[in-house]
Amino acid sequence: MRLLLSAELLKLVKQSKTYYALGAILVIELLILITAYFQGSTILDLLLDNLKQSFYFEGTLLNGNLIMYIVLNALWFNVPLILMIVTSGIVTDEYKDGTMQTVMLQAVKKWKFILAKYIIAVLFTILVISFMMATTFMLAYSIFGSGDLVVYLNTLNFFESADAFHRICWAFASGAVSMVFYCVVSLTLAIFIKEAAKTWIAAALFLIINTLLLKVDFVIPAINSFFFPKLIDTWQQLFYYEIDWMQILINNALLLLYTLAFAAAGTFVFHKKDIG
C-alpha cells in the first residue's frame, strides 16, 4: 500500500491540474478580497447603520475575520465543485489515457489500487482546505486586520475577535469533513461512470441536489437529522451563539461514516467490474 500511495502522490505532484485547483482557490479568495476592499465598507454601513447607533463595535467590522467567514462560505458550492472535478480526474484520467488497463496488467491488487486513490484524494482535499485557510488568514489579516465578527444566521450574531478566530478555525476543520465527503463521492461516481465529462455533470448534479435537499423538510425527524444532505452544513453551527459541540461531533462522525460507505461501495464495484 505504501508503494501505491507514493506512486499516486508522484502522479498528483506531477500533474498540472493539481496546481490549477490551488490556483482556482486563490482566484476565489482574491476576488472576495478585492470586492471587500472596494465595496465592503459601504455594504456593511448600509446593513448595520441602525445597530451602530446603539452598540459599540471594537475595530472595523470589515476585518480579517469577516473576510475569512466570507471565504468559508465558498464551501457551499465553489470549493466542492473544484474538488469534485479534480478528484474524479484521479480515476477518469486513468481510464481515458489507458493507464488503468496498464496498471491492471501489473501485479497489483485492484482493491488496493483504488483504495490508494481514495486515500490520496482525501489527503489532497485536506491539503486544499489547509491551503485555503492559510492563504486566507495571511491575506485577510495582513490587509484588513482583526476585529469583531458579525454573522447573520436567523439573527445577527456578534463574536469578539479572539472568539471569532477560534470559531473560524473549527469551521474550517468541520468544513474539511464535508469536502472529504464530496471528494469521496466524486471518486465513486468516477468509478461508476468512467468518463470525465459525464462524471463532472453527475458530480455537479449531486452537489446541487444535496444543497437543495438541505432545505427540504422530510417530516421524519431521523431523516432530518441523519440523512447526509442534512449534515454537510455542520460547519455553520460554529457560528450560532451557543455552540452545541456534541451535535457537531455526531454530525461529523455520521458524515465520515457516509464517506466510508461511499468509498466501500466504490471499492467493491471497482473490484467486481471488468476493466476495458
Binding site: 501505491l4 506512486a7 506531477k14 489507458g98 493507464t99 496498464t102 496498471v103 496488467l105 476495458g276
Partner: protein, 283 residues
C-alpha cells in the same frame, strides 16, 4: 505457458467469443489474425485477466508474481511523465526493483534512449510501443500479450519491433501472443498462427504450413509480362510492374522455368496471401 480453453464471452451487442481455445508455449511467438471486430481484443483481455469470460478458463503455468504482461489496443502511459518516471511508477506499485540501474536496464532492453528526459507525449508511436513493452516486461512475466503492436508504425518501426519481439522469445524464452490484421507483418515473426472470425477460431497451424496450404496466387515481377504466351493458360491479373498469377505452389518452379526459357527476365516471385483467403478457405 499460456492456455485458454473453451472461452466464451457475450456483450449486449452480441457474442464476442464462442468456444475459443488457444495455447502458447515458452519461447513461441503465436499470431492471432483477424479482421477488426473479430474478437481479438476481447480474447486478449480475457487472457490478461482484465475481463472475466462467461465460460471457459485461462491457465497460466507460472509461479511468478506477474505471469502475463501485455499491451491491449495501445500502450497506456502517463503522458505527462518521462519514460523513466513511467517505469518507476509501474515498477514501484508492484514492488519490482525501481532503482536507477534496473530501470535503465529495461530501457536498454527495449532499445529506448537513456537520455530522453521529456514527457512521453513527445514520443513517436514506435517509442511508445517500446515503452509499453518495457512496462509489460517489468517483474519478468513468462508470457507477453501484444494487441496490434504494429498498428500505426512505419516500415522501419515494424522491422525494429519484430526484431525486439523475436529477441524476447529467443533469448528470454517468453511465450508471446500478438494480434494483427496485417498478414505480412505477422507471418514474418510468428511460429504459429490462429485465425479468428466472428469470435471463433476458424483456422490454425504452423505459420509456414498454413501459408503454403492457402496460397493460390503468386506475384511475378518482370518486364513484358503482358505478352507472354506462357501465362495464357493461367488466370492472371496484370499490374503496373507485376502479374498476379493463380496457380498451385508446386507449379511455380515449372512456370518460372518456362518464363525464363521464353526470355522473360523475372526479378521477383512472391506468394500472395490475404486474410480473406485464410478465413474463406477455413469456412
Amino acid at each position: 505457458m499460456l492456455e485458454g480453453n473453451n472461452l466464451s464471452k457475450s456483450y449486449s451487442s452480441g457474442k464476442a467469443l464462442n468456444n475459443v481455445s488457444i495455447h502458447i508455449s515458452p519461447g513461441q511467438i503465436c499470431g492471432l489474425l483477424g479482421r477488426n471486430g473479430a474478437g481479438k481484443t476481447t480474447l486478449f483481455k480475457i487472457l490478461c485477466g482484465l475481463v472475466k469470460p462467461d465460460a471457459g478458463q485461462v491457465l497460466v503455468h507460472s509461479k511468478r508474481p506477474k505471469p502475463v504482461g501485455g499491451i491491449i489496443e495501445r500502450p497506456g502511459l502517463y503522458n505527462y511523465l518521462n519514460a523513466y518516471d513511467n517505469l518507476k511508477i509501474f515498477a514501484g506499485i508492484q514492488g519490482a526493483p525501481a532503482d536507477k540501474l534496473s530501470i535503465e536496464q529495461i530501457l536498454t532492453k527495449v532499445g529506448l534512449p537513456l537520455d530522453r528526459k521529456d514527457p512521453v507525449r513527445n514520443f513517436s508511436l514506435g517509442m511508445k510501443q517500446r515503452l509499453g513493452i518495457a512496462i509489460a516486461l517489468i517483474n519478468d512475466p513468462e508470457c507477453l500479450v501484444l494487441d496490434e503492436p504494429f498498428s500505426g508504425l512505419d516500415p522501419i518501426g515494424v522491422t525494429s519491433l519484430i526484431a525486439l519481439i523475436q529477441n524476447l522469445a529467443e533469448n528470454e524464452n517468453i511465450a508471446i501472443l500478438l494480434s494483427s490484421h496485417m498478414m505480412a507483418e505477422i507471418s514474418k515473426c510468428c511460429h504459429f498462427l490462429y485465425v479468428i472470425e466472428k469470435g471463433e477460431i476458424v483456422n490454425a497451424g504452423i505459420t509456414n504450413e498454413l501459408i503454403n496450404q492457402h496460397i493460390t496466387y503468386f506475384s511475378i515481377t518482370a518486364a513484358n509480362l503482358s505478352g507472354s504466351p506462357v501465362l495464357k493458360p493461367y488466370s492472371v491479373e496484370m499490374g503496373t510492374n507485376d502479374a498476379k498469377v493463380r496457380c498451385n505452389a508446386a507449379d511455380v518452379p515449372a512456370l518460372l522455368g518456362a518464363l525464363l526459357a521464353e526470355g522473360v527476365a523475372v526479378t521477383a516471385c512472391t506468394p500472395v496471401l490475404t486474410l480473406e483467403e485464410l478465413i474463406k478457405k477455413a469456412i
